[in-house]
């Protein structure tokens, strides 16, 4: 199915309050979904016979921010966070990208991580991918069975792939 057809079948099912936008001109066409409904949309994408997105290829968090003031003037995006789901159907052999846009911090309080429902119960692999996104980008996946850091040590502070992350000067007495 083409991205346009997938978008139409999603809007027919969920309405335009949930399925927010389609960008068909992008190199990889993507569909934006409201964060609160991502689990229902994912379950539908996986179960529906004509879509059958049975494999979650990748789940990544992206921090849209330009910390450098001079470069920020030319920065083409508003500061926000995104969770990007790259889906593939092994049987039908088509793919689509689903996006969820989040604020960088919950309620604009620096340090409080934004929430998004976890899809770990829809695709099993999302378990580890979400742990990585939590670890490195700082996104709180609600309903995740075991949301612990996966690549960094458990007592690590901060989330490395945030654009305003400050590198620690030392870790347990070891200078960097």
């Amino acid at each position: 199915m083409t991205p346009q057809e997938i978008f139409t079948s999603l809007t027919d099912k969920f309405g335009s309050d949930t399925i927010l936008a389609l960008n068909a001109e992008a190199c990889d066409p993507w569909i934006e979904v409201a964060p609160a409904s991502i689990v229902e949309v994912s379950a539908f994408l996986k179960a529906e016979e004509s879509l059958k997105f049975d494999m979650l290829c990748d789940l990544s968090g992206v921090d849209y921010l330009e910390p450098d003031a001079k470069r920020a003037k030319k920065f083409p995006y508003e500061p926000h966070l995104e969770v990007v789901y790259h889906l593939l159907s092994v049987s039908i052999k088509h793919k689509i990208t689903i996006k969820v846009k989040l604020p960088r911090w919950k309620n604009d309080e620096e340090g409080s991580l934004p929430d998004v429902p976890s899809v770990a119960h829809v695709w099993k692999i999302a378990d580890w991918h979400e742990r990585e996104a939590f670890d490195l980008v700082g996104i709180n996946f609600i309903g995740h069975p075991n949301l612990l850091r996966i690549l960094c040590p458990d007592d690590w502070e901060g989330h490395g792939l945030r654009k305003d992350y400050e590198f620690p000067l030392e870790y347990h007495g070891v200078r960097g």
Binding site: C27, M55, C57, F75, P76, W123, K124, H129, L151
Partner: protein, 415 residues
Amino acid sequence: MATQLEDQRVIEFDVRTDEMLINMGPQHPSTHGVLRLLLRTDGEIVYEVTPHLGYLHRCAEKIGENLNGPQWLPYTDRMDYLAAMNMNLGMSLTYEKLIGMEVPEKAMNVRLIIAELGRVASHLVGMGAYGLDLGSFSPFLYAFREREIILDLFEEACGARLTYSYLTIGGATHDLPGMIEIPPGLAALTGNDPRMKMQWTDAVLMFLDWLEKRIREYHILLTRNSIFVKRTAALGVMSGEMAIDYGCTGPVLRGSGVDFDLRRDGDPIYTRMYEGYDFDVISAPFEGVAGIPRDVILGDNWCRFFVRMLEVIEAIKLVRQGIEKYPTTEGDFRVPYKMTTKLPADEVYLETECPRGQMGFYIVGDGQAEPMRARAKSSCFCNLSITGPLCEGVLLGDVPSIVGSLDIVMGEIDR
């Protein structure tokens, strides 16, 4: 085969066993690098396996956000260091798709020859190391002897033996070499004069002819060896649905009977490279292949191993066809790519078929030469995530057999 006990807790008479936590790794040799597995065992039976990763985390993605494409390329070498050529290719294709670059026919031909040779080298290590996991030492030595010649040939092509950075954005850094001195290993194995000079492509063909005859010996030594079969068949069985659900790709997916290969089913920018080439996608249950041991079940360790063995033959076929077409291909081996090229405010996610599975690169541009987000999705990361469910209820000694059959490289998992 897993041993079945009537009551799994009773080992002998009324002696009961205790639950115990065993730490396997991060320095254990059969964990293929620095992987730590925390095993909850009761006697010999493993009830729970928790993998702990991150010992080799080098912030490759954060580094990628601060470097432009050609500068980040050497970091992809160091992810899957056993198949660095294929990693270079995946990353280069992603950048090319993002900036809309067309690669000439000759560059594609060079890429195909090199990438498939890389696949042979990688699967040889996979085979040898798996034998080593199961206590059979000699296949490992034979596999490394063969791989050594491929490394010599790669060295002639680009000067490096492990981290090549040869396939780059726009094609390859150099054309394939012309006249070379025969690699010493190849001269010794084929009984030729070590000072003999020959074309690089002829050296590759000579090596492939020699290798093809050896594959039968590997099958005798390992694939159909009854000890090997006993330790791999009907163990770690994974259904096709389970493999897809856990995001497993590559030989792990195809070993479970799912016929999916990105070289045939992938993105057009990647499949274009393989157009006009004749090759088969190998997937279990290996129809038409004779001599499969009786105990083998679809999706077990043996199937995953055997997919790799047969893929070597397909890769050899592809390299031969590539070399045959090489003299007649048109265009240059490379389109120049400037370091200062600005990436458009767009994004690309592209997966390629690496020896260990589908390696994905996700690049988001923002109008600067450096990407705003450079993500590498590791195939081994997904393949490893299934260890927990696969190892439930097996014997302690079978854990290395299951982990080894996934053929993981920790450099790629931790990035």
